[in-house]
C-alpha cells in the first residue's frame, strides 16, 4: 500500500539517521486501544453543572425581548447567562494577531445573524434540566430579510449582515474589500492565447465531523484561577481568546488538553471555552459545555463554501500564458478565519504551475449562515479542485494529455511565482512521473526525462532560464524542437511571437504600505521580504 522511492532526490538527503525514518509505534497507541487516553471529558468532578445554549431559530432577526423568568425558576437551574453577563461580548479570533475587527458576540443581544446563533445560556444540575429550562425561555423576534448567496450579498442594496462590515465584505488593509494578486498582464496574454477557457466552480460547506464533539469543562481552582479541560486544537489560542472575552489576565487560566478526538480544523474556534469559564465563575462550580452532535453538525463552524471563477489563456503548444481567478469565500455571519483563508488562497494562485500572467481578486463575504472556519487544506482544497478541473479542460481544449500538460507547465526550481518569489525545492514533476509509472499512464520520453530542478530539463531549459530573470512575466521562449509524429499531439515549439509584451510588475511593494500586514508585524516584529 505504501512504498518509498528513496532513489529520487537521494543526493539531497542524509539518510544516515537512527530514529527519524523509523516506523516507531505511536506514543499514545496503548492508551487508544485500552480506552484510557484522557480526552477532555474523561476528567471527573463532583457536583458538575451543565451549560446549554439557546440558539436562534432564524437566519436574521431582531431580538425584541427575552423572558427567561420561567427558565430561571425551573428545577435544577443554577444560573441564566445573558449577553450582559459576558465581560467582553465582541471578539474576532484573529484579534490575537491583530488581524480584523471584533465582529462576533459570544451571546447575541440585539440581532441574530444566523440560524443557531447563541442567545442565552442555562447552567443546571443536568443536561436534561438545562434543556428543559431552555424550552421555557420566551424570545420575541422581529424577522429580518436574510442573504445566503455570496454574489447576491455584494450587490448594491443587499441586506447588510454584519454591522462591523456593513458592505458584507471583510476589509483588507483598512481600505480594500478583497485581496488582490497582480502579475504580468492577463488581458494582453488572453488576446494572444490560442484558446481561452472560462468556468465557474462551487464547493458547498463541509463539516469536520470529528468523532468527539467540541466541548470543555471549567473548574474553579484554588486561589481564584480557573482550570479548563478542553478539546481545543490550539491551547493558547483558546486560552488567550477566553481571557480576552472574560477580561481575565491570561495567567488566571490553566488550560489542559492535548488529547483530542479529532479536529480537522473544527476545534480552533474556541466555541465552548469562554462561556463555560464564565459559567464556572458565576456559579463557583465546575461546569461542562459539550456540543450535541446536532449542534456540531449545524452550528459548529464548517469549512466555508467557496465560489471560484477561472479564466485561462492557453497556447496550442501546451503553455498556459494567463490565468485569472475571481473567488468568493462564504464566511457566514462573522469573520472567524475566512479572512485569513482568502490571503492563503491568493498565495496559492495559480497553483503549482509557472504562468507568466496571473490576476486574482478574492473576496471574504458575509452571509446569514453559520460562520465558517478552518478545515484540513484550508483556503486551498476548493481552489485545487477548481484549478485541477480547469487544467483538465485546458488539456482537452488543445488536445494534449492531461498529465503531460501538467508536467509541461509545472513549476521548476528558480521559476518566478505570481507572488514574486522564486520557486525552490519543487517536486511536482517527479510525483507525476512515479504515478504515471505505477498507474501505467503513458508518458512520452521527454516528459519522463523532465525534472523539477533548475531549468526543468530538456526543452524547458530556455524557458526556465528566461523565467529566472525575475520578475519576467512575459511568455518565455523555448528551445525549438521538432513536432512529434503523432498527429493529435501538438508541437512544443515556443515561437518568440508568443511572447506577450506585458508590463513587468513592480519588484517592490509600494513604499510604506502601512495597512494590514504591518498590523500583523506590530505584534511579531520582524518581517520577511
Amino acid at each position: 500500500m505504501l512504498e518509498f522511492r528513496k532513489d529520487i532526490f537521494a543526493d539531497e538527503r542524509d539518510d544516515n539517521l537512527k530514529e527519524v525514518g523509523q516506523p516507531t509505534q505511536r506514543q499514545d497507541m496503548l492508551g487508544h486501544v485500552t480506552g484510557t487516553s484522557p480526552y477532555y471529558d474523561d476528567h471527573r468532578f463532583a457536583n458538575l453543572l451543565h451549560l446549554k445554549i439557546l440558539r436562534s431559530p432564524y437566519a436574521h432577526a431582531r431580538i425584541r425581548s427575552i423572558d427567561d423568568a420561567a427558565a430561571a425558576r425551573a428545577p435544577g437551574v443554577k444560573r441564566i447567562i445573558r449577553a450582559a453577563d459576558v465581560p467582553v461580548n465582541l471578539n474576532t479570533l484573529l484579534s490575537l494577531i491583530q488581524f480584523g475587527k471584533d465582529d462576533e458576540p459570544s451571546l447575541a443581544s440585539d440581532v441574530v445573524r444566523y440560524k443557531g446563533e447563541p442567545i442565552l445560556g442555562v447552567v443546571a444540575t443536568s443536561e436534561r434540566a438545562a434543556l428543559e429550562a431552555l424550552a421555557l425561555v420566551r424570545v420575541s423576534y422581529e424577522q429580518l430579510p436574510a442573504v445566503f448567496d455570496v454574489e447576491e450579498a455584494l450587490k448594491p442594496g443587499a441586506v447588510s449582515v454584519n454591522a462591523v462590515y456593513p458592505k458584507n465584505t471583510f476589509e483588507y488593509y483598512g481600505k480594500y474589500d478583497h485581496q488582490k494578486l497582480r502579475f504580468g498582464d492577463v488581458e494582453a496574454a488572453f488576446k494572444q492565447a490560442d484558446a481561452v477557457l472560462e468556468d465557474r466552480y462551487q464547493m458547498s460547506p463541509i463539516e469536520h465531523a470529528p468523532a468527539e464533539t467540541n466541548g470543555s469543562i471549567a473548574v474553579p481552582d484554588t486561589n481564584g484561577r480557573v482550570s479548563v479541560y478542553t478539546s481545543t486544537q490550539a491551547l493558547f489560542f483558546s486560552l488567550d481568546t477566553s481571557a480576552k472575552i472574560n477580561a481575565l489576565p491570561s495567567n488566571q487560566l490553566h488550560f489542559i488538553g492535548g488529547t483530542v478526538g479529532g479536529g480537522f480544523g473544527g476545534k480552533v474556534d474556541t466555541m465552548t471555552e469562554p462561556l463555560v469559564i464564565l459559567a464556572a465563575r458565576l456559579t463557583g462550580a465546575p461546569v461542562r459545555y459539550r456540543f450535541s452532535r446536532h449542534e456540531e453538525m449545524q452550528f459548529g463552524s464548517p469549512r466555508g463554501a467557496e465560489r471560484i471563477y477561472i479564466k485561462d489563456g492557453v497556447m496550442k503548444d501546451g503553455r498556459i500564458v494567463a490565468r485569472q481567478v475571481r473567488a468568493y469565500f462564504d464566511s457566514g455571519a462573522y469573520t472567524r478565519l475566512s479572512s485569513y483563508a482568502v490571503v492563503k488562497c491568493v498565495a496559492h494562485i495559480p497553483g503549482p504551475y509557472t504562468i507568466p500572467n496571473v490576476h486574482a481578486d478574492v473576496f471574504c463575504v458575509f452571509t446569514n449562515r453559520t460562520p465558517a472556519t478552518a478545515m484540513r487544506g484550508f483556503g486551498v482544497t476548493a481552489l485545487d479542485f477548481a484549478l485541477e478541473c480547469q487544467m483538465d479542460k485546458d488539456a482537452v481544449a488543445i488536445g494534449m494529455d492531461p498529465l503531460e500538460f501538467r508536467i509541461l507547465n509545472a513549476y521548476r526550481d528558480g521559476d518566478m511565482k505570481a507572488h514574486r518569489r522564486q520557486a525552490k525545492n519543487c517536486a511536482l514533476i517527479e510525483c507525476a512521473q512515479v504515478v504515471a509509472e505505477k498507474a501505467s499512464w503513458p508518458l512520452r520520453d521527454e516528459f519522463r526525462r523532465m525534472s523539477s530542478r533548475q531549468g526543468g530539463g530538456e526543452h524547458r531549459t530556455g524557458a526556465a532560464a528566461e523565467r529566472t530573470r525575475a520578475p519576467a512575466p512575459a511568455v518565455p521562449a523555448a528551445t525549438p524542437r521538432p513536432a512529434p509524429a503523432s498527429p493529435q499531439r501538438v508541437s512544443y515549439e515556443r515561437p518568440a511571437a508568443a511572447a506577450s509584451p506585458s508590463a513587468p510588475p513592480p519588484t517592490q511593494a509600494p513604499a510604506g504600505s502601512t495597512h494590514g500586514a504591518p498590523r500583523f508585524s506590530s505584534v511579531f516584529g520582524t518581517r520577511r521580504r
Binding site: M1, L2, E3, F4, R13, E19, V20, T24, Q25, Q27, F148, K180, R200, Y201, Q202, M203, S204, A234, L235, F236, I256, G258, T259, G263, F264, V268, R293, H294, M297, P302, K344, A347, P352, T367, A374, R376, F378, V380, E388, M391, P402, R406, H419, N425, C426, A427, L428, E430, C431, A432, V434, V435, A439, W441, A509, A517, F520, F524, G525, R529
Partner: protein, 341 residues
C-alpha cells in the same frame, strides 16, 4: 444499464505552516536525574501524531533511543506557547522547536560527559543506544544515565534546552499580492479510477494511485496513516459531504451520522501510495507535513475521472449522483464507453 469506467488525474502542492508565517512554537526538553528525557509542549495531538513525531525528532537530535524520550503535550502551566495544531504546521514548526531545544540539551549533556571522561566535548559522539563515547575510541564511553547523575549531583549542570521556531511574518503588498506565503511546499499527484452508473449517476471509486512528496517521512507509518485517512476524506469531500445539501439554500441540513454522508467501510478502494522525500532546507531533517494536503488531489482527480468515464463535467461539490444524472440527461446520455486510458 451501463457502467462506465474512467481515470482522472490531479497534481497539487501545499504550503507548510500558517500562510505568511508569524506562527511560533516553543518546546522545552529536560533530562531527569537518570538520563530519561521529557519534551514539554503546549501543542495538541488530535490524532495526527504530534507526540510521536516530536518524540522521534527529539531522540534523533539528542542521540538517545526513542524509548528514553517522553512527550508531554498541552498543559498551559508547563508547556510553552504553540500557535496550535493546524495548517500542517506541527511537524515543521513544532518539530523545529523541539530540535532546537534538544540541541541545547545535548550540548550540556556532551559537556557533562566530557568533564567525566576528561576529554574535549568536540571529541565525543552519541551511539544512539544510550551511551556517549570518544570518537574513534568507543571503549572510552559513559552511559547517558551516568552523565545525567554526574551532571545533577556532582557538576550541578541542568541537562535541558529551550527551543522556539518562528518563520518571520511576511508583509503582503495590497496592490500586487507580493508576499512570502510559505518557506516550503509539499507535492502530490493522484490518479483516480471510477465507475459511473449512467442510469442513476452513482459513482464508485475503484482505485487510487498516488505520489506524495513530503520532504522527509519522520515516521513512515504515521505518514501512511495521514495519506490513507486523508485520501478517504478527499473521496468523501468529492462525492458525499456537506452540512448544506441544497446550498446556498440552508434547508434540510443533516443532524446526525445517518444524514451526514461519508463513505463507509464498504465504499473504500485500494490505494497505491508512493512517498518521495525532497528535504525542505528549513524542515526538521527536511520534513514538511503530509497532514492537510493529502485530501486535496482526490477531489479533482475524481471529477476528472467522471468526465473521462461519461463525458460530463461536474464543477460543483459534492459531486452527488443527482448532479451526475442531471448532467448526463442534459447531454443526452453517456457516450459508448469511457475513453481508454
Amino acid at each position: 444499464m451501463a457502467k462506465h469506467r474512467g481515470r482522472g488525474v490531479a497534481t497539487i502542492n501545499y504550503p507548510i505552516g500558517m500562510n505568511l508565517g508569524g506562527d511560533p512554537s516553543q518546546a522545552l526538553v529536560h533530562s531527569n536525574p537518570t538520563g530519561k528525557f521529557t519534551v514539554t509542549l503546549s501543542s495538541i495531538d488530535l490524532g495526527q501524531g504530534m507526540k510521536s513525531v516530536t518524540r522521534q525528532i527529539c531522540a534523533e537530535t539528542l542521540g538517545v533511543p526513542v524509548d528514553d524520550v517522553y512527550v508531554d503535550t498541552a498543559d498551559s502551566d508547563t508547556g510553552p506557547h504553540c500557535m496550535g495544531s493546524f495548517a500542517s504546521r506541527g511537524t515543521h514548526r513544532v518539530g523545529n522547536a523541539v530540535m532546537a531545544a534538544a540541541r541545547e540539551a545535548r550540548a550540556v549533556m556532551m559537556e557533562a560527559a566530557a568533564e567525566e571522561l576528561e576529554v574535549d566535548p568536540g571529541d565525543l559522539e552519541t551511539d544512539g543506544r544510550g551511551n556517549i563515547q570518544v570518537k574513534g575510541a568507543p571503549h572510552r564511553s559513559i552511559s547517558v544515565r551516568d552523565v545525567a547523575i554526574a551532571a545533577q549531583f556532582r557538576q550541578g549542570k541542568t541537562i535541558s534546552g529551550r527551543g522556539i521556531f518562528l518563520v518571520p511574518l511576511s508583509d503582503v503588498d495590497p496592490e500586487t499580492g507580493e508576499m512570502s506565503p510559505a518557506t516550503c511546499y509539499a507535492h502530490a499527484c493522484l490518479v483516480a479510477e471510477v465507475e459511473v452508473d449512467d442510469e442513476t449517476g452513482e459513482v464508485a471509486v475503484l482505485k487510487m494511485t498516488s505520489a506524495y512528496e513530503i520532504g522527509r517521512a519522520i515516521n513512515p507509518k504515521l505518514v501512511e496513516q495521514q495519506l490513507v485517512g486523508g485520501s478517504w476524506m478527499g473521496m468523501s469531500h468529492a462525492l458525499y459531504e456537506t452540512p448544506e445539501p441544497y446550498y446556498p439554500n440552508t434547508r434540510d441540513g443533516p443532524r446526525d451520522f445517518n444524514e451526514y454522508l461519508m463513505p463507509g467501510p464498504g465504499d473504500i478502494c485500494p490505494h497505491d501510495i508512493i512517498v518521495l522525500e525532497r528535504p525542505a532546507p528549513d524542515g526538521p531533517f527536511g520534513a514538511k507535513g503530509p497532514g492537510e494536503m493529502c485530501a486535496n488531489p482526490v477531489l479533482p482527480a475524481v471529477a476528472n475521472a467522471i468526465y473521462n468515464a461519461v463525458g460530463v463535467r461536474i464543477d460543483e461539490l459534492p459531486i452527488t449522483p443527482e448532479k451526475v444524472l442531471r448532467a448526463l440527461k442534459a447531454r443526452g446520455g453517456a457516450p459508448g464507453s469511457g475513453r481508454a486510458r
